[in-house]
Structures are given as C-alpha cells and as structure tokens.
C-alpha cells in the first residue's frame, strides 16, 4: 500500500504495549545510529515509554508489543486496530502469546492449588493470546526480542508502502552463512536451529550453545524428525517438551511438538 504522498505531513507512528517485558519497543530506542533519522521521517504520535506527547489517531503505522491477557486489553486491541492503518505485531508475545502463554498449559484445578493472597484483586484471562487471535494483523515480526535490523526493515517497508523483506527459513541457513560449526553435529548439543525461523543472526550456536527457539517455528518445520534425533542423542522427553514450550510455546508447530512429548511423558 502506498505511503503518504511526498510533501504531505509525515506518517504517524504509534507504539502500543500489551503484556510484555518492554524489550521489543526498547529495540526501537536501541537503534542508536538510526533513531534520530527515523524520528525525522515520521511523527512519533504515541509512544508512551519514550514520550509524554500524545497525538490523536488515526495512525499510519502501529507497532504492537505484548500479548492479550486481560479483559481490558482484549477491548483495547480492538481500539488500536480501529485507529491504525497498518498494524504490525512485534515479538514473541505479540505473535505467539509469549512466555506468559505457559499459563495456557496449566489446568484450572492445578491453578486453584496455588492460592493467591487476594485473587479477587486480579482481572486476568485464562490464556495469553497473540494479537492475531483478536484482530487482523498486517505483519508479524518474530523474536524474543525482535532483531533491530529486522525491525528497521519492517518499519521502513511499511512507511514506503512495500512488503518487508523478512526471510522465513531456518536458523541453520544463517548459521552456515556465519560459518559456525554445527553444535549438534560437532558436540551433540541439542539445538532448535533446524526448526526455528532465522533472524537473530544464529547467535546461540556462535556462542557454542544450542538454539532455544526465540524466533518461533520456521516456514516448514519438521519438528517430529528433530525431536526424534534429539531423543536418539539422549535428550529425555521432559527436556524435549520444555525445549519446545518456552518463549513461543503456543506457536502451533511448537505446541504440537511439546504436546507430542507430553503425551509420552504423562504430563509435566
């Protein structure tokens, strides 16, 4: 979709927070070399963490961080969608419910065993859900947290009215490109790289560690084959289940993989 015409007012950018750690919106402030340039091409119309000035909508581009976990937020996301021309979900919370979606796997009776001091003070939903479960989303940018260059690419693309160039193949491709030694082949370290979407720069294998899936499932993940290989390498069911069930636990491919292991394990 084309952006506003040249010479017109700058496009309005809004940043919204739902249940999250603030890390993905901080990624924008962490673009130290580009921030002022970006700020010069848009009107930062709503970004509470960075500015007390609030300009009324509608907004040309809304970045949404966090997942929906309260009745109030379930209503608020509708309002955000209504005032946003383009809505971009950023990070694992906004695209897959985030680490707080671990609550989705807890049975209600198990939860009841944990007695809060004053549970009546809380207003919280049973599950943590991604933005796309509530409203149409124009783009989902993965990561826990998102990658800065990818964030800039997506923002620039929407401001210029083109499709973002974000690859969806596996971390393995990135790892090879970086020249990392394969941690699985060389050391037998469990790694989610083969089933995880690239974008982080394959940092974990570069630090001699297996990928733990921050960016969620890649386009065609063969989790069954990877699970079997990891099990053959000695990883027990429970560890395998936890590996798939952390920061993108309710991304469908990872959820299926963790549930498959859970059924063998007989529950957490």
């Amino acid at each position: 979709m084309p952006g506003p015409s040249a010479g017109g007012p700058p496009p309005k950018l809004a940043v919204w927070k739902f249940a999250s750690c603030d890390g993905c919106q901080l990624s924008l402030l962490d673009c130290e070399d580009e921030l002022l340039e970006v700020a010069g091409t848009v009107e930062i119309a709503h970004f509470l963490e960075a500015s007390s000035a609030i300009v009324e909508g509608p907004y040309d581009v809304s970045l949404v961080e966090g997942s929906v976990t309260t009745p109030h937020d379930a209503e608020r996301i509708q309002e955000v969608r209504r005032v946003s021309r383009h809505l971009i979900a950023i990070g694992a919370c906004a695209t897959a419910g985030g680490v707080q979606a671990l609550r989705n796997f807890t049975a209600v009776d198990e939860y009841a065993a944990v007695v809060y001091a004053h549970p009546e003070y809380l207003a919280t939903l049973e599950s943590s859900t991604p933005i796309s479960a509530h409203v149409p989303v124009d783009f989902e940018l993965r990561g826990c947290p998102v990658d800065r260059p990818q964030l800039l690419e997506v923002l620039t693309a929407f401001l210029r009215g083109r499709r973002p160039n974000i690859r969806t193949h596996s971390v393995c491709i990135e790892c090879k490109r970086r020249g990392n030694v394969c941690v699985m082949v060389a050391r037998g370290t469990g790694c989610l790289g083969p089933v995880t979407q690239m974008g982080c720069g394959a940092i974990c294998p570069a630090f001699a560690r297996g990928c733990y899936g921050c960016f969620g499932p890649m386009e065609t993940p063969n989790t069954q084959s990877l699970s079997a290989a990891l099990a053959r390498g000695g990883m027990d069911n429970h560890t395998l289940m936890r590996l798939f069930r952390t920061f993108n636990a309710t991304a469908p491919a990872f959820e299926a993989a963790s549930r498959a292991r859970e059924s063998r394990e007989g529950g957490l």
């Binding site: 901080l26 921030l35 960075a50 947290p145």
Partner: protein, 431 residues
C-alpha cells in the same frame, strides 16, 4: 459545610517502563489519598517456573524485563548456584561484573536522557530535545550504544543475552574481542563526566526523604553483583536472611506487591541508597565528578537521583575499563553446577535497586518454588510517601503544574513497572 475536592488522575504514565497510573485526592486542602496504581497485566512467572529445570531461570526470568535482563540472569544464577553449593571462579565473576556494567550504562543513559531529562528541560521526549540539542542526544545515543555493545560481546545480545548460564558462560570472550570496547569506554567515561556536569545544572525541587535506605554493600567494590544487605539505620544481613526481614503485601490497587521491612516499614532501594551507603567504594573519578556536581557523601533528594545515575555511569564505565584491562580468558567458561535439594538466595543491584531471587529445588533439579522481589515493588511505598509530601507542600500549584511535579517525582525512581508486576503469584498463602 461545603467540601472542596481536587482529584488528580494520570492514566498512562509516560516515560516509565511499563503501565502505571497515578491518583491523588485532596479534600479541604488535605491530601487524603495518593496511589501509584500499577495495571500492567500480571504474567505469573513464579507459577510457571515451578516444575521447570533449575538451569532455566536465567533465560526465563530475563523475560521479566527487557531493560534489565542481566539483573534477572545474575540474581537467578547466584541463588541457584548457592542452592547447589557451586563456587564461581574469579575470572567468571569479573566477566559477570563487566556484563552488568554494560546493563548499568545502557539503562542509566536511557533513563537520564530519554526518560528523566525531558522533565527538567520542558520537553516531551529526547527526540524533541534533539531538535535544539542534537549533539547532546547523539552523545547519549552513543553512550547507550557502548553499554549495549558490552552486552553483545559478553552476553551475545543486548536484550535477553544468550550467553549466560549457571556457573558462568557458554563461551568466554577473547581478549581481542573485548579490547576495542575499552577505547570506546574511555570516550564514554568522559561523556559520562560531561553528563554529570550537564544534569547538575538542572533546577531541582526541594524534597528531603527520610526513608530507610537499603542497598547491597561490598567492602572492596561498589556493590553490583554481590554483597551484604545493609541500610543507613543499622540493617546488616546476609542475602539468605532476606525472608526474615522483608515482607510483601498485596494491595487492591496494584498488580505489584509492596515490600516492607518487618517492624520498620517502608524503605528505598536504588541509586540514592547505593550512593549514600557505598560512597567510599566509588572509583575516584566518580567521586570527583560527584564533588564537582555539588553532591556530598549522601544524597536524599530524589530529584537529584539523575545526578547520582550519571555519577554511577562514570563508575560503571571506569569499572568496565578496569575489568577489560585486567581480563584474562578463564580456563573454563563455566564451573559445573550439579543439582541437589535445597534453597538458595540471590541479590544483585539492578539499575533501579536490589533484585532478590529465591529458589527451592528438588534433588533432581526441578524447581519447587520461586520468589522474585524486584526493586520497583520495594520502592512503591516510598514513591507514594514522596507524592504525599510533595502535594501537601505544593497545594497552591495549578492542577496542571501539580500533576507534572508528581509525574516527575515518580520518574525520579525510574520505576520499572514491567518488572514489578510479574510476581503477584509468589505470595502464596498456604492453608
């Protein structure tokens, strides 16, 4: 008799990390209600940590806060290593401190220039400041970047570092990887000294606090990664004695708990407490900058916390340079941490103040219970007490000005609301 009531409400506090609101009620010239309301959705970390492996909290609890993930990683490692009886090698300890210095620099510069300074300069944001003072904002961005670079080189990533594990690191950086940072840090140390000078010229409202000041204390260094828990009123305990001295209360207005010292009441953690309790441990260059800025050996005006943060940024840059210059690659990047049944406590100085973790683990390493007490939860009562005092002393101000003063006062504490809310779950009443 007619009553006059003034009602000040700010929904959606700006330039704080997370979601909070403020509510002040003045009835017949008396402050009758002051509430910092935290409505950040609870995320239940303590609940889902139960049943996870003892190796997971450094990665999982980092996700409580994108601004201070290293604090969560360091406090959780310390607690679990204590439970397992692991002793950390000196070079690993030094690397952890270096990583933490990176987080202090990044977080402090963010707060000083992006969240707090606009209040003193009458701007809505640092981006607005950049219109008239582009060089100052550019300098701030480059300072922040150096903090992030330390986290990238040592931790692998600036937000939610991936290289931290129980016992140390997955891979220790080489001397060659660290060396270029030292040069940039020398620039950043000078820039921090300039920052102290700049912020010390701001106009500070009068406010003297009498909260008990609590910080970690280490005899040989400005405490960041470890120390005893001490106060200006005689508290002096091991971290493991924490539960006997500090309790939390769940109040209706907040998805965060309020911390109190048992039989002593409210207390304050963070830069003012650290500075006042650990002045003697500051490196000379930081003490000189403080003196030049007109700070004594104590600071009890929370509006001046911006100066203290700048002084601490000087200290963190200086310390990071020292650690890089003295760095030798460890023989092993991590010491083994074998599970055993037990309880461990950890406390480190997050940029906003003490972050306490406690874990109870089973002999196979399964986590049975987790408690996390972040700094903002501990400071909530102090923040409200300050608001009450400020409002009472400035009743003649218009609602607009009074509201601005209150917001500024909240930002004095750099409240991290994302941090403070995650842990509702852990005050479990056992029946």
């Amino acid at each position: 008799m007619t009553h006059s009531t003034r009602d000040l409400t700010v929904e959606g506090l700006a330039r704080v990390e997370g979601e909070g609101a403020m509510h002040v009620v003045i009835t017949d010239g008396e402050v009758t209600d002051v509430r910092l309301r935290i409505y950040e959705p609870p995320r239940f970390f303590e609940a889902f940590l139960r049943g996870r492996a003892y190796t997971e909290p450094p990665d999982i609890t980092a996700r409580i806060c994108g601004i201070c993930p290293v604090a969560y990683q360091m406090s959780s490692c310390q607690a679990i290593e204590q439970a397992c009886g692991a002793v950390i090698d000196e070079p690993i300890r030094a690397l952890r401190r270096l990583l933490y210095c990176g987080e202090w620099i990044e977080s402090h510069v963010l707060h000083i220039y992006f969240l707090h300074a606009p209040d003193f300069l009458g701007a809505a944001s640092a981006i607005e400041l950049a219109r008239d003072h582009r060089d100052v904002v550019e300098r701030a961005l480059q300072m922040k970047k150096i903090g992030n670079q330390i986290m990238e080189v040592v931790g692998g990533r600036a937000i939610h570092p991936i290289n931290v594990r129980l016992g140390g690191f997955y891979r220790a950086p080489t001397r060659q990887e660290l060396r270029p940072l030292a040069e940039r840090l020398r620039w950043a140390r000078d820039a921090s000294i300039e920052t102290v000078r700049l912020v010390s010229t701001f106009d500070f409202p009068d406010l003297e606090i009498d909260h008990e000041l609590v910080a970690l204390h280490h005899p040989d260094e400005y405490a960041i990664t470890e120390g005893r828990v001490v106060s200006d009123q005689g508290l002096d305990i091991e971290v493991s004695e924490w539960p006997e001295h500090i309790v939390e209360e769940h109040v209706a207005r907040s998805t965060s708990l309020h911390g109190h010292l048992i039989e002593r009441g409210r207390y304050l953690v963070g830069p003012l407490a650290r500075y006042t309790l650990n002045y003697d441990q500051l490196p000379a260059v930081a003490r000189e900058a403080a003196t030049e800025a007109g700070l004594g050996k104590e600071c009890r005006n929370p509006f001046r916390s911006i100066v203290v943060r700048a002084v601490e940024t000087v200290a963190a840059c200086d310390e990071a340079i020292r650690l890089i210059e003295g760095y030798s690659e460890p023989d092993r990047p991590a010491v083994p941490v074998e599970p055993r049944a037990g309880v461990g406590h950890g406390a480190t100085e997050a940029p906003r103040g003490i972050l306490y973790h406690r874990y109870s683990i089973a002999d196979d390493g399964t986590i049975l219970e987790a408690d996390i007490v972040p700094p903002t939860a501990q400071n909530q009562d102090a923040i409200e007490a300050d608001l009450r005092k400020l409002v009472a002393a400035n009743l003649e101000l218009s609602d607009h000005d009074l509201q601005h003063l209150c917001e500024q006062s909240i930002r004095n504490y750099d409240p991290c609301i994302s941090c403070s809310t995650h842990f509702l779950d852990f005050t479990v009443e056992r029946r």
